[in-house]
């Protein structure tokens, strides 16, 4: 099962290594990771998405995360009400004649074309996991040349 874990941590060097070490030591891969400063520049916010093969091991990881001296709070959003979003930037093959078709697609999503050249377009889109997935499926018909994603951000509601 996929878990979304958010952490408030001290904004110091070495903190990310401590956190990622708890996952890697157990052979767990981090699917996505987003880190940034909060309003208080001494504190960072992390959102980690991880696939747990064993819920008990993940519970142990959560407890170990809490134990790290530099970790202030740990929240596992999996069983909590929350809103999550991801930002995607994609470079797609594009010819001027495709413009209407592309705009049709974007009318269904939060996103836009931010840059054109003669052969490609760069698009940005924001959405939850399902929205991003279905957008990317639709864009496949153009041919996705390059894709970057922020990883999931989550906030409680």
């Amino acid at each position: 099962m996929r878990h979304t874990i958010s952490l408030l941590v001290e904004n110091k060097f070495g903190v990310l290594a401590r956190i990622s070490g708890l996952f890697s030591a157990r052979g767990y891969n981090i699917a996505s990771l987003a880190v940034s400063e909060t309003l208080d520049p001494t504190i960072s916010y992390m959102t980690i998405v991880v696939e747990a093969q064993d819920e008990k091991i993940l519970e142990q990881i959560n407890k170990q995360l809490n134990k790290l001296v530099d970790v202030i709070t740990v929240t596992d959003f999996t069983k909590k009400e929350h809103i999550d979003r991801e930002l995607v930037l994609a470079k797609i093959n594009y010819l001027p004649k495709d413009k209407d078709r592309l705009e049709m697609i974007f009318s269904k999503y939060v996103g836009k074309i931010i840059h054109y050249t003669e052969k490609i377009a760069i698009i940005e889109a924001v959405g939850n996991g399902a929205q991003i997935k279905s957008l990317l499926e639709e864009l496949q018909s153009f041919g996705i040349v390059e894709l970057v994603r922020t990883g999931k951000l989550a906030i409680s509601n």
């Binding site: 941590v9 401590r18 070490g21 142990q60 407890k63 170990q64 134990k67 001296v69």
Partner: protein, 555 residues
Amino acid sequence: MKGSQILLESLRRAGVEVIFGYPGGQVLPIFDSLYDFDIKFILTRHEQGAAHAADGYARATGKVGVCLATSGPGATNLVTGIANAFMDSIPMVAITGQVGTHLIGNDAFQEADVTGITRPITKHNFLVKDVRDLSRTIAEAFYIASSGRPGPVLIDIPVDIQRAEADFAWPEDIRIRSYKPTYFGHPGQIKKAAKLVSQAKKPLIYAGGGVITSGASLALKELAERIQAPVTSTFMGLGCFPATHKLYLGMLGMHGTAYANHATMEADLIIAVGARFDDRVTGRLDHFAPYAKIIHVDIDPSSISKNVHVDIPIVGDAKNIISELCKEIKKVPDTILWLKTIDAWKKKHPLTYKSGGKMLKPQFILEELWKLTKGDAIICTEVGQSQMWACQWYKHLTPRTWISSGGLGTMGFGFPAAMGAKMGVPGKEVFNIAGDGSIQMNIQELATCVANKINVKVLIFNNGFLGMVRQWQELFYKKRYSYTPITSPDFVKLAQSYGAVGMRVTKKEDVRKALQKTIKTDNTVFAEFIIEPEENVWPMVPTGQAINNMIDGLA
């Protein structure tokens, strides 16, 4: 003040009496300041010895042990000692020199990423990049190492920081917003636990190293006597409850007593205090304590429900919680029948060994040692058979008199740890129970003992084998003794060449006299006992079996 002076002054403010360590290129400023600074420094002969000595000192005194080494190889030599302290929750501060800040990451001479290497084996570690942070970092390190569930903390100090100047300021109050150990148990949970205790018919107290860390021994004794519950101890808990007490069952688990294991499997309530249900304790997990409800008292929430399902977790300090629980129990359970059952197990399956042969028996030596010391000694051990016999056959009476590598199982730990313990408690006789294999792993510390007159008494049980591995090979690998026969130097001559006293004992009738002489000798002693080569540790629970599925090669 220079960084090196700030370091030493901070250590003094933190209450440090002794540092174990070894000099090197990237700690030269520190050693220069040490030259005329009033703090005791013990020069070991290997950095690993320094780390274990700091660990032994911490176990014997309850204070934070301190070790110091240079960058690169000096620091990596500390690693085993740090991992050892981490596994057994021992408060330690390890200080390492680092190459200058401008060289870090450049593969400089004697450079190693020590904070990286020790990240998973320290409770926390620091790389100091500004001399103005140094004293606060040291204060935080001592606070983190000694509070909550204790553990080792490493401070890596680049050589230019040691030379840099700053004003000295010592923080009197340390508060870390992201680190707040819980000391007081949840009253509701304690109430629930008290109710379970009242309803129990077959309660069992399972006490671990946390009892010793928190100083909960007296509270535990009071609880056990009040509710008339038998007490079994983990390896790390030995000494937390007097082994001569009638409610005591000895150690449980792989080499535990049969009656402790039977009691665990039959109990209807287990009160676990400062213990972590280690795999050497539980044996086959899905068969462990099938009838028991479990109350688990531990300061570390990550220990709870890690291996076994816990019915009532209580996070906090053992001493506080046990005292509160004792007060909260209104009705004391009737355990007369339960204690009778246990007495019958004790009579039917006592700890025993075959005596009478020509060869010396290690169990006999330990019984004699007990008779001569009556428990008033610190017993350190190496790892393996000698260690397990020392668990079983010496009666550990008081906390902090049993010093042995539990979690990590580090051969070579005992001798330097004994040295550290003796430094911490000079008034006590300190023994190291060793095998002929383990003692050779840190034997260089003989020089440290002799040079500093740290009189440690080493009993070497020489069976010519790496005995515990040989035992497994005998039982599970068709006696194919692959690289377990091991040769040794002449320990008597070796001790003498270092300026210590050596003796060799081969006959049963000489054991007592040799031990008496060992105790009386005002020097470090290597007393070698030539023991039965293929003596085994019994009883034993094979890996993957339930703990009442013991084998006992004596029948």
